[in-house]
Structure formats: C-alpha cells, structure tokens
C-alpha cells in the first residue's frame, strides 16, 4: 500500500480557507446591504479606506472583483464588453473588466458589483484608476473623488505631505456632504486600531515564511490577503487572521511546508495570473518550487497607530510600493530575497499594469547584481488570458530552475 506521504498532494490546502470564504461572503453581503441603503463606496486598492468606514459607509473593491472575473476564466469575455464600448485592448484589464461588468452586470460573474453611490480613487497605485472610475461614473452616475498622492522618489517633501493631508480633509468634507454625516474621532480611532491589528497579524503570517520550509506559498497569500485589502478596519476579520497565523505557526512547529517537498525558494514580483493561479503555482510545487515571498501581498503593511491618524495615513498611503521609484522597488526585492533566503526570482511583466511592470528589465539586472541570484521575466496578463502563453512561460521558468539546480 502506498504510504500517506506519497499519496499526499504536492500542495497543502489551508484549513483556515473555509473561514476565509465566510469572511468574503460577509463582505459581499455587507456591500449589497450598503448599496441598498444608498451608502456604498467603490474604492481603489490603495485608498485610505479607514475614512469611509469610520463614516459608516460600505465598501466594494472593483480590483478584487475583477480578480474574481480573472479567476473564473471569463476575463476575455468581460474585458470584451468594455472593448465593445470602444476601450482599447491596451487598457489595464482590471479597468476593462471593471467597466465591462458595470455596463453588463447580468452577463458578468456574481451579477457584477453592487451599485455604488460614490467612487473613491487614489492614484498612489496608478493614474488609470481615475479614468476607469470616471468611465464608471458615466455609467452609474456616482461622483468620483480623487485623492492625489504625488509619487515619492526619495524623501517626501513637506509640502507634498501637507497637500496629501489636505486631500484627506477634503475627502472627509466630500463624504460628509454626500451622505450628510460627519467623521467622529472615536470611530476613526477604533477603525484605525482594527486596521493596525489586522495588518500586524497579516505581517506576522507573511514573515513566518522566512522559515524553511515556507508555511505559505504564493497562491495562499494572494487569496488570504483579500480581507486585509478589502476589510481592514473591520473587527470581524481579526478572527480570520488569528486563525491563519495559528495555522501557519502550527505548520512551522510540525516542520510542515506549504508544499510537500520544498527544494527551490523563489520571489514573485507583480500581480498573479488569476485565471491560472492554482495551475501555475501548484504545477511548480510538484517540482519542489515554492514562493515564500512576493512584492504584491507585502504591499499591505504599515501601522496606523500614532498621535495623529491623518498624518499616519499620509505616510502609509503615499509610500505604497507602486508610488515609489525604481530604487525603492529594487531595495524591496533584494531585501525580500535576502531575508527570506530565496534562490531566485520571477518577474511577471503584466501587459495591463504599466505602473508595476515598467522598469522590470532594469531592476532584474540590478537585483541580480545585488543578491547574486538569477531571475527571469515572463510576460502575460492577470485577467486577460489571451495574453498569456503557457509554453513560452514554461521554457523561461524551466531555464531559471535549471540555472539554480
């Protein structure tokens, strides 16, 4: 009879994932209810969501929804709805799927996102989000608020800090007028404190992956990050992150990795190909390749604690990974490679996301120079599977593995 070990799959499923599903289900129900009450904001992934939450609004994340569109493998179809409206195939596929599903919710997964009353965009991740939300505004009639965060090259000049802070104050005024409400300091403190707790727990789970074998793989983190992206500030998500951390620590105690037989540890850069996330990472897991760290899920870190929460928000939300220069990206990648003891790196050049992918060829060389480990750039897209060629990607990754072996 075959032993348990050989029957065991190359990839280990997280037990906490059922709690994750329940948490995400609650997020959808709450958004639906908020929309029905006329209190739903759509927000971008790097938006200081603590403010609308503290003002009792519900939130939905179109980027997260469009990742779902990708993972349900209907990216080309839903992006196509936007293309039919005249949007170019060169436009970010999150934006295309977002606009497409807003135009044709009934033909989109889950019937599209619940209808928004306001659209809150922060350009700390890219400038596309503003145009995307303007397009949604035309379709839904909801007004757009832009929080403008000038890119940070080295140190953030004080006038930029003041400018972003003024933006936050304007946001509070805007929401106050739209929803006839005001921001209460206690409530903001409470939301910020929940947000910080969730981020702390999340960061601990991420950092646990420094262990060999790594308790989490890339796909695990990309799914587990959903609540911290979309519901940081809500108390109930702490239960999930405690369960996740428990499970991660339990795995470490038992010497159990996310994959059965860890041989090669790699860094992942950029958004994943959602339509192929399991196939891709589990396929590599079968060959002993694990990804203990990535630049994406590490983007939601940083505590909001401190005397003046708005000033902390200025810091955190101005300094997100995508709002900083190439130097900071190279530092981040090299730092992760060293701290997580990685043997190489894979940079996914995402056709959609110019902001993330621009400069990857240069940073690849710089990261290898700094760390001495090899890397490879593969090309494709996160939602639009028409731009993803499996055989070409496989050859590049196989060659990287051969270089490391």
């Amino acid at each position: 009879m075959a032993s348990n070990e050989s029957k065991e799959r190359a990839y280990r499923k997280l037990e906490s994932s059922s709690l994750l599903q329940q948490t995400m289900f609650r997020y959808m129900l709450e958004a639906q209810a908020a929309s029905e009450e006329g209190k739903l904001a759509w927000v971008t992934s790097g938006f200081p969501v603590e403010i609308p939450l503290a003002m009792n609004l519900g939130v939905s994340y179109p980027e997260q929804y469009t990742a779902v569109v990708g993972s349900q493998k209907v990216g080309p179809e839903v992006c196509g709805f936007a293309e039919e409206l005249g949007y170019s195939q060169e436009l970010c596929s999150y934006a295309r799927a977002g606009i497409g599903s807003t135009d044709r919710p009934d033909d989109s997964p889950l019937g599209g996102l619940p209808e928004p009353q306001v659209l809150l965009a922060c350009n700390n991740i890219c400038g596309t989000v503003l145009r995307w939300y303007e397009a949604v505004s035309k379709l839904t009639g909801a007004p757009v608020f832009l929080l403008d965060t000038p890119p940070v090259q080295r140190r953030q000049p004080s006038h930029h800090r003041e400018y972003v802070r003024t933006g936050l104050e304007e946001l509070i005024d805007f929401l106050g007028e739209e929803f006839d409400t005001s921001l209460e300091e206690d409530k903001l403190q409470e939301v910020a404190s929940n947000s910080t707790k969730a981020i702390d727990l999340w960061t601990k789970s991420l950092e646990a992956c420094k262990h060999k074998p790594s308790p989490l793989n890339c796909a695990d983190r990309f799914l587990a990050m959903a609540p911290v992206v979309s519901m940081r500030g809500k108390e109930h998500i702490l239960e999930y992150y405690e369960a996740l951390l428990n499970e991660v620590e339990g795995r470490i105690q038992q010497g159990m990795g996310a994959i059965r037989d860890e041989k090669i540890r790699l860094l992942w850069d950029n958004i994943p190909p959602w339509f192929s996330i399991y196939k891709f990472f589990n396929g590599l897991a079968k060959r002993g390749v694990v990804f203990p760290a990535d630049t994406y899920t590490h983007a939601w870190t940083g505590s909001l604690e401190g005397e003046d929460i708005l000033n902390r928000m200025v810091d955190i939300y101005s300094n997100v990974y995508l709002n900083r220069g190439l130097r900071a990206k190279v530092d981040k990648m090299a730092g992760l490679i060293e701290e997580y003891h990685l043997d190489g790196f894979v940079m996914f050049s995402v056709r959609s996301c110019k902001r993330y992918s621009l400069g990857q060829l240069v940073s690849k060389d710089l990261v290898t120079e700094r760390t001495g480990v090899p890397g490879v750039v593969i090309e494709g897209d996160m939602v639009d599977s028409r731009l993803f060629n499996e055989a070409q990607i496989e050859t590049r990754i196989d060659a990287l593995i051969e270089m490391i072996e």
Binding site: E379, N389, A391, Q392, T395, R396, D398, A399, E402, M403
Partner: protein, 256 residues
C-alpha cells in the same frame, strides 16, 4: 564491451536534430529533418536515423530539448534549449561567453558561466522578426531561394535601410523599395542588417562579452553573421555543428 554513448534530440519549431556522442563528447552520428506536423514522428525518425548511422541500437537515456521537448514520447528527460545550447557550445568552445542562437521561429541570447551553465538569457519567441522566418518571408518577396538570400546580400556595397522591425511592415517596405528601383543586392543586405540589429539589441540585454558564438540554422548564413558582428562590434565564431549544438548539449546531459 559496448562503448557508452549519449543521445540528444532537439525538437525545434522548424527542424528536428539528433546526435549520438561517445564519452569523449565526439559526435558519432547526427541527423536533421523538418519537424513537420508531428514533433513525435520527427523525433522518432531522427532517433532511428542516428541509431542506424551509429550502427547499433543503444539503451542510453534520450534527453530532449527544443520547443517540442515535452511533446515526444521517446525522451527520458527534457531540458530547455537554453541549458542545452549553452552546454553544447561550451563543449566546442570552452571559452565562450555569449551564445546567440537564431532558429526558424525564435532567437535567443545566452550568457555562459562556469562549466557551460547558463547564467542569464533573453528569448524572442513571440515575434517572427529576428528569426529565420523573417528571412524566409523576405526571400519570397525578392523571389530568390532562401539559400540565395545571404550570398545576394554579400554582393552589396550599399545596404538599403529597412526601418520596420515588424515582419509584416518590413515586407511592405521591401515591396516599395523594389518598386522604387533599389537593387535586390542592396535590399537583401538591408534585410540582414535590420535583422542583425534586432538580435544585437536583444543580446545587449544579457551583456555582450567575447568570445561570441552564433548557432542555429541562420548562423550558416554568412551575411547575417557579418552584420551581426558589425552590430555587436565583436568577431563571431560559428561552429561547424551550428545546427546541432542544442542536441549536443542534450547528449552531454544524457551521458553524464
């Protein structure tokens, strides 16, 4: 006692190549044929031919490489063309630093490290410009056989400039140059120059370091190698076995 041999099969998009080597790494037999519609059939035919040429069937594991490496049933192990070309060329030129392989449908630049292992690479397998396919299309437009395109270019003193890097656009550019009376020699030279420029810029991404060796079917085209050398500012060596270095690298892995 039967001598130990190594067998490597390189299933390219245009041609399939196979070699049998002895333990000293000398090629005992080789074969090449069009890949055609079935990579598997082509690989089997190549294996039969090299075994026949070698004079005996062998039980040595077969290592496959090339774009079709996973499509063939006779392989015991598959290794990418990046590693195999690097090992194969290093076996012939132990000092090699940079391998530029230009095949029918793709091209690659590989930096070779110690023991012939690749340390970095760039691969163009998305666009037909910069591959043998580009030359085939251009030969058809100029109405010369593909083997004649290189020699024609070598007669030119004054290559035309072909600015489009896209095969489709370059095709219309060449057509308009023909109609404006440019000589076929100068157009052919311009075609090679343009392709060499594209491959040189891909190679620069991994860093130019001499000695540089060119392989693949297109490396047999002297005009291309000359223009590539000019674009890179380096002399380029081409091994006699230019089309077999991938299969040779695979055979070296098979014997190890």
């Amino acid at each position: 006692m039967r001598e130990k041999v190594g067998i490597g099969i390189d299933v390219g998009s245009t041609t399939t190549k196979g070699v049998v080597i002895n333990s000293a790494g000398q090629i005992l037999a080789s074969s090449i044929r069009p890949t055609g519609a079935s990579a598997n059939d082509a690989a089997k035919a190549v294996l039969d031919e090299i075994e026949e040429a070698h004079g005996e069937a062998t039980e040595q594991p077969v290592v496959s490489t090339g774009y079709g490496r996973k499509l063939i049933s006779i392989a015991d192990r598959e290794v990418t063309e990046i590693t195999c070309h690097s090992l194969g060329v290093h076996h012939i030129f132990p000092d090699v630093q940079l391998v530029i392989d230009v095949g029918g449908q793709d091209s690659k630049a590989i930096r070779v490290g110690s023991e012939g292992r690749p340390t970095d690479f760039e691969l163009n397998d998305k666009c037909s410009a910069g591959t043998g396919r580009f030359l085939e299309v251009m030969a058809r437009v100029l109405d010369v056989p593909i083997e004649g395109l290189g020699p024609l270019a070598l007669q030119s003193q004054n290559p035309c400039s072909i600015s489009s890097t896209c095969t489709v656009f370059a095709e219309s550019e060449v057509i308009s140059q023909i109609s404006s009376g440019e000589s076929p020699e100068d157009i052919a030279a311009g075609i090679h120059q343009s392709m060499a420029g594209k491959i040189a810029s891909m190679s620069k991404r991994v860093g130019i370091a001499a000695p540089v060796v060119a392989t693949g079917g297109v490396a047999l085209n002297q005009a291309f190698v000359e223009y590539l050398g000019k674009s890179l500012g380096e002399d380029i060596s081409v091994p006699q076995e230019a089309q077999f270095t991938g299969a040779l690298g695979a055979a070296l892995l098979s014997i190890q």
